[in-house]
């Protein structure tokens, strides 16, 4: 049976961390059982000819090289800094220096440990949940005390960050590594998705939904995308960003504008008594009309017409005329059936 991947990765990590001089690929292949078992010691070791090894590479050398590269990438994902060193005779060596891989001294008290434990538990997304646990384990190894269940026992608050969008993880990695992405995006009101080329800056979760802010390479402008409208796969590209990344990205302001929360004026409406509580909560003034109706002034922004129509016969728009017309249009469409 093939040796488990965790054992192979662990051995590679220990070899790279344990060495004081760079180890060649050949040495690593010869000393890690999982590689030996799967690929043998390799030509380099058999002939002793090191620089010529690449020339008479066999299929198994290629397979070993691919696995070795993937394994190094996996260890780098875990935070290991693996250096590549060219020796005088042209052979590449690898090592993970202790001083660059060490966690700087950090002392956390019991309260701080409890607070971090609570924070780490909010992720439901697999990759981030695993990363948060991994971070706590490293801190534990560094001496972080074990917290009593100071929050758990009281259990006043449970917080979860929902991540349902498949596009989340590839976008998170692309934003982390500053790699442009390509995806199909369907705008709110369009039937067909359109391909977008984006330099991803930040992802933000607002009211339970995830948004991406970035540079739209085709439109040459900053854009905000809602992750749930990305259809199909997100592919990242191995090319650099072309636009500078701003220090501050305004995802929330853009989304609030979409949601009509940025008022551009005031509307005057009539609301039937004992109805329309959310409208009343936003009203800047309320006047009883005495006939079972109240008159309200409320902030007017994009999307207000759709909201007011929801109240059906319990709301009447007085002004502005454009809002009144928009509401009437919607009502007529529904009245037709």
């Amino acid at each position: 049976m093939a040796i488990a991947k965790a054992e192979r990765l662990m051995n590679l990590a220990l070899c790279l961390l344990g060495t004081r001089r760079p180890l060649s690929k050949r040495e690593l292949r010869g000393s890690i059982e999982a590689y030996l078992e799967a690929f043998g010691p390799g030509n380099g070791a058999a002939s002793g000819a090191e620089s010529g090894a690449a020339d008479n590479a066999t299929g198994s050398d290629d397979a070993f090289n691919r696995m070795f590269e993937r394994d190094k990438d996996d260890l780098r994902e875990l935070g290991l800094i693996i250096e590549t060193v060219e020796s005088v005779d042209g052979e590449t060596g690898y090592l993970a220096r202790r001083d660059s891989n060490r966690l700087p001294p950090i002392t956390l008290d019991v309260e701080e440990a409890a607070a971090l434990g609570l924070a780490a538990s909010v992720w439901q997304q697999a990759r981030l949940a695993a990363a948060a646990s991994g971070a706590l384990q490293k801190l534990r190894a560094a001496g972080m005390p074990l917290a009593e269940e100071v929050y758990g026992s009281h259990s006043a608050l449970e917080t979860r960050i929902p991540v349902h969008e498949a596009a989340f993880e590839p976008l998170m990695l692309a934003a982390r590594d500053r790699r442009p992405v390509v995806f199909d995006y369907r705008k709110a009101n369009s039937a067909r998705p359109e391909q977008r080329h984006v330099e991803p800056w930040t992802l933000e979760c607002w009211r339970g939904h995830w948004y991406l802010a970035g540079w739209d390479r085709d439109r040459k402008a900053e854009r905000v995308f809602r992750l749930s409208r990305i259809t199909g796969k997100v592919r990242s590209r191995g090319i650099p960003f072309t636009a500078p990344v701003p220090d501050h990205v305004t995802v929330r302001e853009t989304v609030e504008r979409w949601a009509g929360e940025t008022a551009t004026g005031t509307a005057r409406i009539k609301v039937r008594a004992d109805h329309g509580y959310p409208l009343r909560a936003r009203a800047t003034s309320t006047r009883e009309l005495g006939d079972g109706w109240d008159e309200l002034e409320i902030p007017y922004g994009h999307g207000l017409d759709a909201w007011l129509v929801e109240f059906g016969p319990d709301v009447v728009v007085l002004e502005p005329a454009e809002l009144r017309d928009a509401v009437l249009d919607r009502l007529r469409a529904v009245a037709k059936g």
Binding site: I3, L14, A156, R160, R330
Partner: protein
């Protein structure tokens, strides 16, 4: 699974550092410290003796367990490489820092807890060094509903009943009720799970729909109830709930984003035919009105009729 192998490697690297300092550590204690089950820990302890700096040199970790305690017989054999905790990876720093910054903004944290979190965040930022940089590419803003949140939080801490007026969008009305709060949670919006004395049942209340709240002097006394499983999503229609079919044009496709549904079939005009279930179809009258020309209720007929009647009644108020 590949993901598991990476997580296990990450854990085992921390484990060897941890065990080196604690000869004879108990399995139960170590599993708790690492947030894993004892079986998972035993699984790791089965792998570790196969690991070392050199297979040929026989320099393997001599770690074993009798199921109660864990012993490491050659802690110096593999050099001092495993003696020090490893730096945080970019994803690890991101996961901790983004969550910590978001949680620190919640009004429900006790002040001492918030301060501890802010201190811890600063220490993690310092210790993570450049790995902390990527955490600025992710952010989470919770909606907090500050005042109501603080009152519910206090009611839970003091085990007191609360009186609320609560807004129901489906009926466009406020109802008064007394509830025994059980817990607060945040999944997109902030919610209170409580035992409702009006309906004598467990209910979930969205805090931004609580119009008024008052703490009562009566003690809270919710019967023991199973808490909702938050991992499944909040809206879980039952199989026996009535089915609603809605056809929307391209302008109404957002419905599929906001309403959990059983199916959404593409229509030739770029619209969708959405089938969903809800315990109270009448509550969707609002949706039917909002959609206007962008969609219509296909069934049940009673719902389609009530939307049409409401629209006609509303038009009458404008003199049409």
């Amino acid at each position: 699974m590949a993901g598991n192998a990476i997580d296990q490697t990450r854990r085992m690297l921390s484990l060897v550092t941890y065990l080196r300092e604690r000869p004879g550590a108990r399995v139960t204690d170590v599993a708790r410290a690492f947030g894993i089950t004892e079986d998972e820990l035993i699984g790791d302890l089965d792998v570790l003796p196969m690991c070392g700096t050199s297979f040929r040199g026989g320099d393997l970790l001599d770690i074993d367990t009798d199921g109660d305690r864990i012993w490491w017989h050659n802690p110096d054999a593999s050099g001092s490489s495993t003696g020090e905790p490893l730096r945080l990876a970019a994803d690890e720093a991101t996961a901790l820092l983004v969550a910590a910054r978001a949680v620190a903004t919640l009004p429900g944290l006790r002040e001492s807890g918030r301060q501890a979190l802010v201190r811890a965040t600063a220490k993690i930022e310092a210790a993570a060094g450049e790995a902390a940089g990527a955490s600025s590419r992710l952010s989470v803003t919770f909606e907090s509903e500050g005042g109501v949140f603080a009152d519910v939080d206090r009611a839970i801490a003091e085990r007191r009943r609360v009186w609320i007026t609560y807004y129901s969008p489906a009926r466009d009305e406020l109802t008064e009720r007394e509830v025994d709060p059980i817990r607060l949670f945040v999944v997109g919006h902030t919610y209170m799970e409580a035992w409702c004395r009006l309906s004598e049942a467990r209910r979930t209340f969205r805090l931004d729909r609580v119009a008024e709240i008052r703490l009562l002097d009566e003690p809270s006394d919710p019967p023991p109830v199973e808490l909702r499983d938050l991992s499944e999503g909040l809206v879980q229609p039952a199989a026996e709930d009535p089915e609603v079919v809605i056809e929307v044009g391209p302008g109404g496709r957002w419905v599929a984003e906001y309403y959990p549904h059983d199916s959404a079939e593409e229509l030739p005009d770029g619209g969708l035919r959405i089938t969903l279930r809800t315990p109270d179809p009448a509550s969707l009258r609002r949706l039917a009105l909002r959609l206007g020309g962008d969609g219509r209720i296909v069934s049940p007929a009673a719902l389609a009729d009530s939307a049409r009647d409401a629209a006609r009644e509303a038009l009458a108020a404008y003199g049409e």
